[in-house]
């Protein structure tokens, strides 16, 4: 009974003071739809297929990403374009199977596939999650558009005559998109 009373007299007020201090702490809650989370620079979200500065796709359909993919969610078929270059005729990523490990990004020798920062791509139908090449290139275009907007209209007007988008490399594109 003595030890019990010791607990009651000593430990409980200490515990109460701890909880009381926490009332005035700033809540860690993010009110999500209004407040977006701060994503880590290494965040791996929805894929995109990058383009060269002239708008041509970088992917040469070598199949290394598909080989590296542990979830086996990438499928591709190659073709030769009019200049005799090997490109992807079909390039599909099943975003439901994808585990967002980023191995495809690492395997890619052409720096063509990246995992972006987009995480809000939920849909109602499962087939909608199968992303075709056009959709993945579209993701890149959207990200680029946003980046251009952020770079500012003034900058775009100044550099209009030899405007070239900087080549997206891993560090560069990720960090500038985030800003």
């Amino acid at each position: 009974m003595v030890s019990f009373l010791k607990t009651v007299i000593k430990a409980i007020p200490v515990g109460l003071s701890v909880t009381f201090k926490n009332i005035f702490r700033k809540p860690t809650t993010l009110e999500y739809p209004e407040v977006k989370p701060d994503l880590s620079p290494q965040y791996r979200g929805l894929h995109y297929l990058a383009r060269y500065d002239n708008g041509e796709e970088r992917c040469v359909c070598c199949g290394l990403c598909a080989a590296a993919c542990p979830a086996d969610c990438i499928y591709m078929e190659p073709y030769e374009n009019e200049r005799g270059e090997r490109k992807a005729r079909i390039y599909i990523i099943n975003e439901i199977r994808c585990i967002f490990c980023g191995y495809c990004e690492e395997a890619c020798p052409e720096e063509a596939i990246f995992l972006g920062k987009e995480f809000e791509f939920s849909k109602y139908e499962i087939p909608d999650f199968i992303y075709s090449k056009e959709m993945l290139l579209g993701n890149f275009d959207r990200i680029e558009m946003e980046r251009r907007k952020k770079l500012g209209m003034e900058f775009i007007r100044k550099t209009r005559f030899d405007f070239r988008m900087p080549t997206p490399s891993i560090g560069d594109s990720e960090s500038s998109i985030e800003k």
Binding site: M1, F4, L5, I12, G15, L16, V18, T19, F20, N22, I23, F24, R25, P27, T28, T29, E31
Partner: protein, 328 residues
Amino acid sequence: MDILSLSLIVAKVVVIFAGLMLMVAYMTLFERRIVAFIQGRKGPNRVGPQGLLQPLADALKLLSKEDVTPAGANKIIFNLAPVITFVPALLTIAVVPVADNLILFGREISMVISDINIGILFILAIASLGVYGIILGGWSSNSKYPLLGSLRSSAQMVSYEVALGLALVGLLMVSGSFSLSEIVHQQSSILEWNIIKQPLGFVLFAICALAESNRIPFDLPEAEAELVGGYNTEFSGIKFAMFFMAEYANIIASSAVITTLYFGGWQGPILPPIVWFLIKVVFFLFGFVWVRATLPRFRYDQLMRFGWLVLLPLALLNILITGIVLVL
């Protein structure tokens, strides 16, 4: 009794119970917000400004829920149990004076529904009735977890009632009255509050009040971690809501009784008495929430040992000390 005084009583009943029900509704929000703040969350703040309409939304949701009766349940008792729990929880407030006597149109109106001279006995008696609802609710569900919860509840409430009653004996010896109005009138200044005369009694009473309202750390009847939901597992919709409203009404009634008995009730300077009363009650409501956010649940044997081997001897000791001091 003329029509006027009858209508006055009806008005008092309506106003006080409406106020109590409003407090019960907003107590849910208050608790959720405070616990959320303590846990580093924001709590419900979507429905209305700062979530002020949340109780309304909750009520609508619970009212529109399907009302499930388990197979093999005793339907009459199953339907009756929430009511049996709820009504005593509300009744306690009837003897608590919420403000000073009011002189209105040349007649004195006491701000208490029923100013009976055995108010404390009434509170003890009504508080004991609440356990019936819980036991019957658990038993009539025809389900093992509710039954276990209600059995625990009955053992717990009976055990702590002993200490609760004995904790009050010290207070009664000091004040020499069973009437709550009388006790409030005795505590006209802060130095005459019964907390000064009965500090140990107050602590014991507060602990027992916690136990009687089945709150953390004495929430063994519910014990959601081990008993699913305790005695209210099988209840849904408005019946479940009534159990919960009963719990909150019990908390508010306990706070009101603690305020009245130990903290001078509505007595206080400058502000009107009803405001003082509400300030003190809200302070104790916060205390209930604060304790809930801090302490873990007792184990069953700890609970029983604490009730019988700690609280009961301390209550008796309190009576002894009070007696000695009074005689000297």
